[in-house]
Amino acid sequence: MMNFIRKPFGYEPIITKEDLQKDHKKKVDKASDWKGVLKGIWNLVDEQRFLLVIVLLMVVVSSALALVGPYLIGVIVDDHISKSIFVGLSKIIGVLLFVYLFFSIATYLQSYWMIGISQQTIFRLRTGLFEHLQKLPVSFFDKRQHGELMSRMTNDIENVSQTLNSSFIQVFSSILTLVGTTVVMLLLSPLMTLVTLIIVPFMYFAMRWITKRTSKLFKEQQKAVGELNGMIEETISGQRIVKAFSQEGRMLEEFAIKSERLKRTGFWALTYSGFIPKVMNLLNNTSFTLVAAVGGLLAYYGHVTIGEIVIFTEYSRQFTRPLNDLANQFNTVLSAIAGAERVFAIMDEPIEDDAALDNADYVLKGNVTFEDVTFYYNKDDESPTISNVSFHVDSGKTAALVGATGAGKTTIMQLLARFYEVNGGRILVDGISIDELPRHTLRSQTAFVLQDPFLFEMTVRENIRYGKLNATDEEVLHAAKEANAHDFIMKLPHGYDTILSADGGEISQGQKQLLSIARALIADPAILLLDEATSSIDTVTEMKIQEALERLMEGRTSFVIAHRLNTIRQADLIFVMEAGKLIESGTQDELLQKKGKYYSMLTNSKT
């Protein structure tokens, strides 16, 4: 029996006594930062605060009407029915009819407006979080699982949403009803009021016991949901691999482990929070009995009237119901805070902030200088990914980056686009350090064709237009033709208006690359970064688009990563990278004369 209480249905406890004692000693409940979260949400309510005041007014009205109802019924029972006075009864009932009508109207209006407010607030929270994500540095995303972040956007925010929908009104109306009932009770009979109030301290302790546990459990639960989400997203996105390697069974087992964790935290969270209404019920019933029994005794001795007891039994309900609601709401609020905290945790991540920088309107000429640049992806990496790289590329020139994979070529480009911050040295564009240049200014004049082509779930046309949002249809068509993508686009079911599916399923990787080249062609950058832009494209097609690419590179500073000799040979400068270092640089002729690494690379390839 004891064992069942400790581990019901075999659920291992999550919160131990030691945990709770530890918290007690620390005196700081790390489980939640109430004030911060509530303030954050209050800020989001923003210009709707006026409407919120109106909602509160409606709550006052409906709460008042909720008090008037039973009062009038008490009057009817006491003054009319028990005294057998039936004159004026119809009048009071008529009044009551209106009271109830307005009560219903007020109830509806308050939820009507509150839903608008809360959903607008949630909308702001969601879009705010999304906007914030847009401003976070690339390094933030390197360390997070997609599904986990997605969970914050949906599950956690949904938690807040449900609470805002109902809790705000509930809490406020509960407090009002509570205050109102207490006042009326005091006016009617201080003695009976005291009897009703006896249970309050018990409620307080019970709630404290429960919420101490739930506030932690809710957090754990949201975390478990996030992890499960992460796993689902990754497995489904990588389904081809799962199938190719026949790992369905193992995925199912791994899923079961994560799912089991959620089940366990969920069980405890649900159980503890489920205690609240039960405890409240017990206390309610006790209070109800006390009112009836003690009231009965008092009536026996003539201290109170029977009407008063009838009213008080009702009031004891009126009094405990809001307390009940408050207790339940408190719990919901806790779970919302657990969700909101995870959202605000991301909001607190430092963003790529350029607000303080001038040069917003600076027009790049495209002189690029690396001065002794050193970079680590992780602080605790032993060897840097880029170490002490220095070079200069004049405006309008083309530089080819060559070297083995993992030598740091892509990283050089990513640093130039300021996806990451250098750890040592400086990168200068036109003599201005890029950290003094707003990212907007830098990136708006840079076009980057990435190694992995990505297309959005939009039409082909919109995907190409992504490079220049105000491009005309003619421009899109032109770019597509230049990139040699026009022919295959025309074969798609709806041509340029074909909506590409989630993973770009039915078009090939090479075709994706053609589209991303078209996307770059349509932008009009000062600096062009081509990272293996044509790696999946067959060489015959590549020859066709080469001309377009060359035209594109003309007059722009270009950095190119490629294996093809022809591309490299045409570059004004060649940088040879090895293990993060720049080991050789110069023109094709210079490097060949030097007979160094580049020379050996070239001669090797001919043998």
């Binding site: 249905f9 109802g69 029972v77 009932i93 009819l97 009508l101 939820s111 839903i115 909308f123 879009t127 690339v138 390197d142 997609h146 997605m150 949906t154 599950n155 499960l228 689902i232 996105s237 990588g238 190719a244 390697f245 026949s246 790992q247 069974g249 199912l252 899923f255 799912s259 959620l262 089940k263 969920g266 489920g274 209404p277 039960k278 109800f288 009965g296 007891i309 309900r317 992780n378 083995a404 994979t405 686009a417 990212r439 190694q451 990505f454 959005f456 992504y466 599916s501 989630a502 293996e532 999946s536 494209i537 060489t539 022809n566 490299i568 050996s600 070239l602 001669t603 090797n604 390839s605």
Partner: protein, 578 residues
């Protein structure tokens, strides 16, 4: 909803126990007004102090009984709900794992994620309510009505006058709710999809500075969700005020006619008070009703979405876990008049493709972008089934092969290197949990990645995947090759998997792969790679345009010649050795 019930059936007994406990609580609540009537009539009015104390203690005693029942009910209900959630998540995930690639085209990832998480939670909420209060509200109402009929049938009649109207009203509301909430869930899918897309395209969005553009696109998706949510909830919130009003009017009727009856002496005061009390309890229960309808409609919408997944019959792979891999494949591949188009379009991707690859030999597949090369490879492990024609492995139609056996002898390296969150070691051993460390290192060596791994700070324990370090494109490709090699496949399918490798690394890789003696199908853009193959298959718009050795094709195929010329030494596409 049937699905939900069927997943609850293993917990039938517990459900019954929980419901019984709930009934205990409920009866206590129903008896209370009766006891109060007794206390008033027999105790206070009769001036009997003993009776007050006696009935008072009985009231206290039974409320404690109700409390105990409630606490036990909580434990049981939580257990049922969480077990149900676990079971249905497993079932869903299992089903999804069995989807064919074609079925995945119908269910976007984002939608599957919502179905496996949010939708499950929504139905869990309903069940939890169901086991604790949902039945309670209707029962409380019914119970209250019965009790009031016992107390005084005439007055009780007025309580149920509005009932027919309410039934119709609630039915309409729940129908509406179902529609509205399914729409809301679809919107949630879209929000999820949008954020997933953005996470995948972080660099692209930053490079093109489309943060604001994306935010505004997201805002429109989020706005749709908001609008539909507002619409759904605003309609559903109508329920409560309407219910309350109808109930309150009935209460007034009771009062009015009650007063008259008391006047004539047909009704006692205590009876009227009790009925008023019941009426007020019903009012309380009615606010629960509003909740229930909302929860019910939401859960129904969600359960239909889960059922859509669970009910998928076609497009399911049958994987027999028990089949023993006793017959090692030899690795012969034959395509017989294979034609194919994707299920979503009628556009043919492959047309009448036939060829045969001898065990242990190497076939290079070349062709223009979009000529169907990757599609051809994807048909071999049966990611998709041919529209026409057959593919034979070791002389047996792939459709006859047990899927697990078939895929076991195939090592696939896809064009896009997908790694999973975890260490390098975990990723290498991903296809074969039993692989020894030695085997992993051997595969890494063959794939020319061992040295690079050794240089990472945590070597084989370096974390990769979504939460991992930045690997270069070539490093990912080689890890992905090593992962396939660990399983010692008889057939190795390489989908342009060496595009990011420099020449010397690639040469070393091919040399190492020769030792494997596997049948290799290699998609490549490079003549150099093709030269090393026994045969070359040239695809043009889904059809075989040429087949033969390098020398043969140089003679016969103008397209092949054009490709070769473009890559000739010193030509347009000669490559750099590093």
């Amino acid at each position: 909803m049937k699905t939900i019930l069927s997943y609850l059936s293993p917990y039938k007994i517990l459900v019954i126990v929980a419901l019984v406990l709930m009934l205990v609580e409920l009866s206590v609540e129903l008896v209370q007004p009766l006891l109060i009537a007794i206390i008033i009539d027999d105790g206070i009015l009769a001036e009997d102090q003993q009776a007050i104390i006696l009935w008072g203690s009985i009231m206290l005693g039974i409320s404690f009984l109700a409390f105990l029942a409630g606490i036990i009910n909580t434990y049981i209900a939580s257990h049922i709900v969480q077990s149900y959630g676990f079971d249905i998540r497993q079932a869903l995930f299992k089903k999804v794992q069995a989807f064919t690639m074609a079925t995945f085209l119908k269910f976007p990832t984002a939608s599957l994620i919502t179905r496996l998480t949010t939708d499950v939670t929504i139905t869990q909420n309903l069940i939890f309510m169901g086991l604790r209060i949902m039945l309670r509200a209707p029962l409380l109402v019914v119970g209250s009505i019965i009790m009031s009929f016992i107390v005084n049938p005439y007055l009780a009649m007025f309580l149920v006058i509005g009932a027919p109207f309410l039934v119709v009203f609630l039915y309409i509301m729940s129908r509406n709710g179902l529609k509205l909430f399914s729409k809301v869930q679809k919107r949630v899918d879209q929000v999820t999809r949008k954020i997933q897309e953005n996470l995948q395209a972080v660099r692209l969005i930053k490079a093109y500075l489309r943060g604001n553009f994306e935010s505004s696109r997201f805002a429109s998706v989020a706005d749709n969700l908001k609008v539909d949510n507002v619409k759904a909830f605003r309609i559903m919130e109508l329920i409560l005020p309407v219910l309350l009003f109808v109930m309150n009017v009935s209460l007034l009727a009771v009062l009015w006619f009650g007063a008259k009856e008391i006047q004539t002496g047909d009704v006692e005061l205590g009876e009227l008070v009790a009925i008023i009390n019941y009426a007020m309890r019903m009012t309380g229960a009615f606010s629960m009703f509003a909740f229930i309808i909302i929860f019910f409609s939401r859960a129904k919408a969600s359960s239909e979405r889960m059922e859509e997944v669970l009910k998928v019959e076609e497009g399911i792979e049958i994987i027999n876990e028990d089949s023993e891999g006793t017959t090692p494949g030899i690795g012969e591949i034959e395509f017989q008049h294979v034609s194919f188009h994707y299920p979503t379009t009628d556009l043919p991707v492959l047309k009448d493709v036939s060829f045969k690859v001898q065990p242990g030999s190497k076939l290079a597949i070349m062709g223009a972008t979009g000529s169907g090369k990757s599609t051809l490879l994807n048909l071999i492990p049966r990611f998709f089934d041919t529209t026409e024609g057959t593919i034979l492995i070791d002389g047996i139609d792939v459709k006859e092969w047990p899927l697990k056996e078939l895929r076991k002898i195939i090592g696939l390296v896809p064009q896009q290197s997908i790694l999973f969150t975890g260490s390098i070691e975990e990723n290498l051993g991903w296809g074969d949990q039993a692989a020894t460390e030695e085997l992993l290192r051997e595969a890494a060596n063959q794939a020319q990645i061992h040295e690079s791994i050794e240089q990472f700070p945590d070597q084989y324990n370096t974390r990769v995947g979504q939460k991992g370090v930045n690997l270069s494109g070539g490093q990912k490709q080689r890890l992905s090759i090593a992962r396939a090699l660990v399983r010692k496949p008889e057939i190795l399918l390489l989908d342009d998997s060496t595009s990011a490798l420099d020449v010397s690394t690639e040469n070393a890789l091919w040399e190492a792969l020769e030792e494997e003696n596997a049948t290799m199908l290699v998609i490549t853009q490079k003549i150099r790679t093709a030269k090393g193959a026994d045969h070359i298959l040239l695809l043009e718009e889904g059809q075989v345009s040429a087949y033969g050795t390098h020398d043969e094709l140089m003679k016969d195929s103008t397209l092949y010649k054009a490709i070769a010329e473009s890559q000739q030494e010193g030509g347009e596409h000669d490559e750099l050795h590093s």
